[in-house]
Symmetry: C2
Subunit: 599 residues, 2 copies
């Protein structure tokens, strides 16, 4: 079975040619890094992935976490892995020097996440979640909290989590009902239930540190009364760890992504669960969003991971599996040919390649904006921040939604074998299905895009993005291979603008419900065009490299990029037509149908 789960050459091309990641090393925060040093981090990530993560993928899938005596047991290798992630600095790599980190750019940590996620998604959730939780303590914790928790978390001894979701409040965070009662000792007494808590309990670590949303007694209703607490499973007291009344009520049995335990937790059953406020009262949701925005990019990134893994497993199969003959070959005595020679198989491969490499490019577009905005001031900061805000719902949702289809195409290439556990395709198909659900469902992101982001600062974010895209379209006119498609992208962007203006009119005439009723489709439309933009950017770079007679990339690699670009514009961009037609329609069937009339 193939061990290739991503393309090193492609990742290098994106990071260094398309996004010039080395430029970040000139910035103060990253000045201790060099472009070569960043590559070495990725090499190391590839080694860990190949040697330690991928080998336990199938076993993790067949032996999911289980509850025993009120605790969740995970794959036995996970404890060793968490120690490795800690010892070798993977958990702390993005942390500031003052916390023992290496201040690695977000772009590189996401590239690491991409590689590890392609090898074995479940395994990388443990360390990356811990990093996110630790960052929140870094940003908003007291000195004491920092000293108590961060070293243990970065060492891989303690697991960090995000404890948001409750049984009665899934996507609707304003309905969080967990409570926090102040005490004279400074801590709060926490009571509540949390569900779907990733790594919410596990025997891979000595302790679990929940970053938990709860309402302080008397807080206002809705999102404005939510505060953020550090709630450890075991609280440090006088050098010991004391049980902090965080009980594991259950582990969810899932369709895939079996390596990571998803817990149902009950806090404060015995009125002895202490929580430590992070930052100010009632500001918990905005703090949490610091972590959540990164996590959303992470979800998009890992959807690409799994899609990439599925792509390479199907690509390898297609080159070795023989079946049938060319349509023009009628002689049944001629040998059968590798299925990659059939046009429809090539179509399914190019579909995956175009989506995977286009999506990965979009993810890196976002992470670069993130790094630049964090390390700049004034106009540059503002511009990159706004473009990032606008792109985030697409970066999260396009890969998440599309990976369902690309992993399905991978499975299809295996024929009947694709449905069996003899190959990995079915595992990836099951695994990636989580991504349209966690960190906000696709519908939530549609509403975020159309309801908030597009109109951000009176449309300034959109305008800034469009300027950049138009500049690339202009640049692409120089090359035969890109100019027609770039012009096509420009036309479609005009239509996107028309759609947006049409919808604004709908908002005025029919109100917000009609305005947002097809927000998911609007998100899909914008997402396709955003990835089209990424392909134009890649296409320009390919032509530049060809003109410069590059020796860094093989001719096949550059040709494969041209074909994937063609595929995207020939097969994916046309899908926008149907979306545009629908979005401009006056029919409001999804608004007017009552629940009694859907049966």
């Amino acid at each position: 079975m193939s061990s290739k789960f991503y393309s090193k050459e492609n990742l290098h091309f994106l990071l260094h040619e398309v996004f010039n990641v080395g430029e970040l090393c000139k910035r103060d925060s990253f000045k201790e890094h060099t472009p070569e040093g960043l590559d070495m981090i990725l090499e190391a990530a590839a080694s860990v992935s190949q040697d330690h993560l991928r080998p336990i993928l199938v076993e993790m899938d067949s032996k999911p976490p289980y509850l025993e005596n009120g605790r969740i047991k995970v794959h036995p290798k996970m404890r060793e892995l968490m120690q490795t992630f800690g010892r070798d600095g993977w958990i702390s790599m993005s942390a500031p020097h003052e916390f023992g980190g290496q201040q690695v750019p977000f772009t590189i940590t996401e590239a690491v996440g991409f590689i590890m996620g392609a090898a074995n998604y479940s395994t990388m959730v443990f360390p990356f979640l811990t990093t996110g939780a630790a960052h929140l303590i870094e940003s908003f914790g007291t000195q004491e909290l920092k000293q108590t928790y961060i070293p243990k978390m970065y060492a891989g001894d303690w697991q960090g989590t995000m404890a948001l979701t409750e049984p009665g409040a899934g996507s609707s965070l304003s309905d969080v009902v967990s409570t926090a009662t102040p005490t004279a000792d400074g801590h709060y007494l926490i009571k509540g239930q949390k569900i779907f808590i990733s790594c919410g309990d596990s025997d891979a670590v000595d302790n679990i540190v929940h970053l938990m949303l709860a309402r302080i007694d008397g807080a206002p209703a809705g999102t404005k009364g939510i505060s953020l607490f550090v709630v450890p499973r075991m609280r440090p007291e006088a050098g010991d760890l004391v049980f902090n009344d965080v009980n594991t009520a259950g582990v969810f049995h899932k369709m895939g992504y079996h390596g990571a335990p998803i817990a149902h937790l009950i806090m404060g059953e015995s009125d002895d669960c202490r929580g430590y406020l992070l930052g100010e009262e009632h500001k918990g949701l905005s703090y949490m969003f610091q972590m959540m925005n990164e996590a959303r990019i992470g979800v998009g990134c890992n959807a690409v991971s799994i899609a990439s893994a599925a792509y390479y497993t199907s690509l390898e199969y297609a080159t070795v599996r023989t079946q049938g003959r060319k349509i023009t070959e009628k002689d049944p005595l001629k040998p059968q040919i590798p299925i990659i020679e059939h046009a429809d198989v090539k179509r399914m491969l190019l579909f995956q390649k175009a989506v995977v490499e286009g999506s990965l490019s979009l993810v890196l577009e976002a992470t670069m904006r993130y790094d630049i905005s964090k390390t700049s001031e004034g106009e540059e900061k503002e511009k990159n921040h706004l473009i990032l805000e606008l792109l985030t719902p697409m970066v999260k949702s396009y890969p998440a939604e599309m990976s369902i289809l690309t992993t399905s195409a991978a499975l299809q290439i295996f024929g009947g074998y694709g449905f069996t556990k003899e190959f990995l395709a079915e595992l990836f198909f099951r695994e990636t299905r989580i991504h349209t659900l966690h960190e906000g469902t696709t519908a939530i992101h549609g509403m975020d895009l159309l309801g908030r982001k597009v109109m951000l600062k009176n449309g300034l974010a959109t305008m800034l993005l469009m300027q950049e895209v138009m500049a690339d379209i202009e640049k692409a006119q120089k090359y035969e291979a890109t100019k027609t498609y770039a012009t096509l992208l420009g036309d479609k962007l005009m239509k996107l603008q028309e759609v947006t203006m049409h919808l604004v009119e709908v908002a005025q005439k029919e109100g917000p419900e009609a305005y947002l009723s097809d927000a998911t489709l609007y998100l899909e439309l914008f997402g396709i065009l955003a990835v089209g933009w990424q392909w134009i950017k890649q296409g320009i770079k390919v032509e530049e490299l060809k003109q410069a007679n590059t020796k860094n990339y093989s001719a096949e690699f550059l040709q494969s990029k041209e074909y994937a670009l063609q595929y995207f514009f020939e097969y994916e961009i046309p899908k926008t037509e149907g979306l545009i037609a629908r979005l401009k329609s006056k029919n409001r069937v999804t608004v007017k149908a009552t629940k009694e009339e859907i049966l």
Copy 2:
């Protein structure tokens, strides 16, 4: 949890209003049936499904078949079920009276399959496969073969299978290498391996009867040298059953559809596997296609089954699960609302409803053509046969492909819970993924449609179908609710014709490979329009019933049909635009890319 897995009212509406199934009872073959009698069969199927099939769905999923001492063990309840299916006449219902059958129309047997498949797909594969195999023996067997095998199969004592696929010949049947050596005793000695044999071994029955493709020694290469044999696992000899050298090499572990065992078989390892020729030498493939064409309609039907089950489970959840508030409601103290009130949830429900009910209608369109063509002569027979031939690839593939998306939408409605085993959505999502693979992959059907069927008798099949569709479009002009959409369908059909003509030109200029390179997309395009036609047919009937002040259907039911019709034309029909744009393009990226250039 809801026990509703299909809509009785909808099935009645389709069978009796749209397709007038009662008309069949006037035909000689079916004259012992009455419309009411046919309904009673469906009622009985619903009872068996509710009481015996659905209750073991989850258990079957969690305890898949396994190999023990060289035999496959299935769910223990399956033996009892096969006896029930035999005793109560489900296996033989479509058989001629002379074989103890009831001569039930194919339309009704498929409706029964739809109901049972929606309850628990795996369980109904055992009896229905047995029926198909028995029909082949009825059609082509000697008197002795008929007497020996058919009664046992119809009793549910012996399982029937289709043994086509081999390790080196999946979709490419011309590469079948199993051999059959004639003996002086009249039987043949069989040697070969078969994989993916549904119900190829199980302890639910006393014997397994394989309808197996093999090559008689010296037969011509390719599809013209394949013969069909009856190859029992145990052969009847002098009143006893003697092991016939059919060994079970393994059971495939699958992603879903766990109840039915899929076997790897080895015939003739000890040179003692006897096969009995069915019909003439070298004609096996054409005989097998008798069964396969029905089986393909069956696959489409069961994809709808599973999509229906997923639809109703998500519909019920959406009505009871509260989450969030109307967009216009800003007060967080107001109670949360059932998620079905959110436009995007309604969109996902109407999507499922429009696809499920439209697809079921298309399936019944095919089965009615089948029944009419079997029971008529001359022009009527020819016309219905040709339309059936043309529709078959769409009837198989549209539901199969779309059920991946509709079950995914069902899962999405559950939010994070959808990814867990607490609800059935994930099970249906896994289960339906088989349907684009078995009985020919989607690519095979695309090539069948564009490479054979569209041009059948110089395009006569297409012309006959278009005449019927145009007549319905004409009829739809009478009603406000249907006329705009009917006109739209007419426009799209014109475009389909343009696409076809364009492709014929491609065939002439660039050859068959380019012609067929996007056959899968052509199939998708034609399929969407075929289902659009079904919605126009349903829409006309709804308006007729409204004008007649029907009391047979509730106002909500009729309204829901109008909404689903709107949904289909507002959201699904526009998807044809992208397909048309692509199919008319001159770019041949999937033809020209070599395997070295996809990486």
